[in-house]
Symmetry: C3
């Protein structure tokens, strides 16, 4: 086993642990030190809606990640080779989740804290807000499910940092997030976000368990969001598309340019597309967002058996309103849960049988590397994409005027 | 008057008082010191949903109590003679009430903080969530009342500790909790929770007043919850039953074993029974939960004129889901307030005329003492219990399929 | 340009700034010092629902103001010449806005924090809670708007203090409050609250902008509240009334005494009157609340082009319930927004074109000065007031039983 060092940063089980608000550790504390040197730092935020938020900044010597334990172990943004991964939301502060009232504004309170590179949707539901009628069981009743679920606005109750003391010197930030209630459903998410010194990517490994003796439904979606400089006028999405459908009429109008992104445009109405993808021999797939000059791209890699549903969110609004593209692998599509259940896409989480998933997010730099990445993705697509010219009712609820 | 020492721990009227996060006092500070020695300690919690919660731990030398000023002066748990009073909820953290959104999930947000030995329900309503139509007055309109009311998730604005400096050396933690709003209803709860050095019980004395010039309705229920080791396969409830009815069909199915508890059982559906009880000459009554081997029991004593309605909650779910029995004396039953008002059971709280109530919770150890306790309770029951073989519509709303 | 000193007290953009909880500055730090000497102080509050609230106390040597950055830069109270401006609410604590759940109790959660001399209503809506049907745009749907909007319960993300170092030595507390969300509407309020050494008044200057690339609707109302000693049995409102209507039947019953206030009366039902006012040559108007002995009065001055709608709120309830009069200049009346939109009174806020407004609140002391103030107001009223003897449907929704 690799020798390693672990530091517990938060543990609510040790209730009386004094909180050290500032904390820092770097490769200089260890011998031998990897090259390049790394560092990790805990930073409390103050003022406004940020008061009480803690950030963990992990710098592997080339790529820096900012993780938000207070907000469900989301990833606020990353920087690599001078390029920012993330986006500029109209929400400027890192909002403490105590401010989020999920059911406000018709169930869209989640939008008041949304500004991260990677935030999870779920675990109870990932999609649009609305009433669900839960069949059978003790909860055979109407339940209002707010937009994108609660896990992004639940603070980690345990947080740790771990570094390996021998090659490859993996650096890991871990956290446990628990969303629990009497009578359930209660969920536990244990996540480890890791990277290697000098790498241009990071991996997220999640283990989700039902916290109790009863099975529960699970929806999970990784909402990965990119603005400038990766997103620009002429950026392209590259994906090994098996099937695709527009989510609604607005998206249908943009079908011909689904993989191209325009410049910021005030009042642009969001367009969503739902995909199934091809993968490689190991069942993993890759999608990439390539910047207009094809000098660099961001890529997301994930396992198709766990995350078979991929959603593209095009939201090229004015910069001040959030000029952003979302790459969103999920267990299913962000439709109302009742629709997803009918289609058989909601995961059944049994006690003692955790669901494991994850995603790798990386930057590919240099036109040659970008070309090779695109080629690799294209090779996964063994057949021509099957693109639905209308709205495929198997993937999206087709309503009267489809709004 | 007994000589005593008082220390103010929190007082929002002295707005600029610096908060001392840690504080401690023990019998060694006083002379003469009682035997056994006592101690009291304030402890701030950190991390996750606990951040900002304060606990007060009072140890009388035999029994220790953990009181949560941040959560309406609830009692988290107690330990006496090595036995834990309280239960294991799926809610692991001591949740700061700022996380609780009462009206979420159809009005059941209260369940996201529920894990205490004793929490009060009320003061506006104690029962199931739902719409109430308030007759007359300025608020002649529909009002949504969330499950179990707001008082458990309201922080104390004044907290104090007081110890007597001569026999019987009573130790008291006091607090004022105020649930107020413009146009009302506004409530003030002043509670004193006390014990004697070396005792195996504690007393709660509450004074509830309307905070303003207008009368208000009051419902109050002491939700007292016990898991292992008091609750086990074969535990019994002993109570001086005058009348009893099942609350619904699920409870009706378990009517024959209403006073016996089974082992943890995944998916067990909660059963509630509503009682009227006999009391002693002073109008006080006692109920007891006896552990399977009859080696010890917990008891609750309370005044029948103030708390005439007793509810038993059997929830022998899997341990991870909250294996628990609730002994719940109240002003009335935890039905929707509209039903309780129709039955004439809601208290009318007039300005200047506070409502006084309370409960004593204790541990009885040793088979002889347990036997004597049960005998005392049995002697209160001067007649055979009147057990309704259906659902008595005077006590529980009888709905079509009774869910 | 006047020489001045600026100190940044909070800035969430400098995320890692350690929060200095206590801070103080006074005229003794500067030379030459104005006469009388001034001071400003930041004070954190602790305990109960106050925990985490910050106050800024600005004393100009004669008048002291307490500003609440945590609560949208509201003004808690002021004191001048021994007279308190403000009122006694049943809400005793300075409630941290994280406690406020706007949509609770049918959208009236705002009332659980209401106890200030001046709080802004808006910026999305100022009036009664209810569903609005927003025409056109991306949000062509029903939206629930809670009472009085969210701005009063949004914390400032930037706070500063500025003093001029030469005559007139103006003292200014500034703040930026941002109420933002993905997909909007998002608002930015930049306010400066200032006074002069030795003055008996303070000015509020507000600049409100839409934070993004899309236009948004704006409603703004300055809810200015006065209890004893300005309000008493026999106090009078003096205003240059052009037109007036009762809001509802309850107000209509009190029409004959609309400008006179009675003593505290338990169960008094609030009365609201809607006005248009005359102004002076510069388009500014003044209203005054004169205490029974006419020895002093409070006055509010504001620009009619920005704040054409004036509302008087008479709420002479029992003192414990909030004995208070509200002087409320606004962009429009605190009716449901849908009604105000139909009447063409909702402001359209375009990107890059901020809305500027403000109000001056002052104390006038001495019977001579009070007489002169009343005369000045009377002279603005060039015609007799047009007082509607029924409920004018142009100003107030006339419903069946008008409740």
């Amino acid at each position: 086993m690799v020798k390693r060092w672990t530091e517990i940063l938060t543990d609510t089980c040790r209730g009386n642990s004094a909180r050290e608000s500032e904390w820092e550790l770097d490769s200089g504390n260890f011998s031998p030190a990897p090259d390049p040197p790394w560092s990790v730092r805990r930073r409390p935020l103050h003022g406004g809606k940020q008061e009480g938020v803690e950030l963990l900044e992990l710098d592997n010597g080339r790529m820096s990640l900012t993780i938000v334990p207070t907000r469900g172990m989301n990833v606020l943004h990353a920087h690599c080779d001078g390029i920012r991964l993330g986006f500029d939301s109209p929400v400027h502060e890192v909002v403490h989740p105590r401010w989020i009232q999920h059911e406000t504004r018709g169930g869209r309170g989640w939008l008041e804290g949304f500004n991260e590179l990677m935030c999870r949707c779920g675990l109870e539901n990932t999609g649009a807000s609305g009433y669900d009628l839960i069949p059978g069981g003790a909860e055979e009743e109407e339940l209002f499910l707010p937009l994108h679920g609660r896990i992004s606005n639940t603070p980690a109750r345990r947080v740790w940092f771990r570094c390996e003391l021998e090659p490859p010197y993996r650096l890991t930030v871990g956290g446990e997030v628990r969303d629990a209630r009497m009578f359930g459903p209660s969920y536990s998410l244990v996540t480890e976000i890791s990277t290697l010194p000098g790498a241009s990517e990071f991996e997220i490994h999640d283990e989700i368990a039902v916290a109790g003796g009863k099975a529960a439904e699970l929806e999970l979606l990784y909402h990965c969001n990119f603005g400038t400089p990766v997103l620009g006028d002429g950026s392209r999405l590259v994906a090994p598309v098996k099937t695709m459908t527009a989510r609604d009429k607005v998206a249908l109008e943009g079908l011909g340019e689904w993989d191209r992104f325009g410049p910021p445009q005030a009042g642009f109405e969001e367009q969503c597309y739902y995909f199934t993808l091809y993968g490689d021999d190991q069942g993993r797939t890759t999608v990439a967002l390539v910047e207009p000059q094809r000098q660099f791209a961001v890529r997301a890699e994930f396992p198709l058996d766990r995350l078979p549903a991929f959603t593209l969110w095009k939201n090229t609004e004015a910069e001040a309103d959030g000029y952003v593209a979302g790459l969103e692998p999920g267990t299913d599509y962000p439709n109302p849960r009742r629709f997803e259940r009918d289609k058989g896409r909601v995961v059944r989480l049994e006690p003692g049988r955790p669901f494991r998933s994850g995603i790798t997010i990386g930057l590919t730099g240099g036109s040659g590397n970008v070309g090779a990445l695109c080629e690799k993705i294209d090779q996964m697509a063994v057949c021509e994409p099957d693109i639905c010219s209308t709205i495929d009712g198997e993937f999206a609820p087709v309503v009267a005027d489809n709004r």
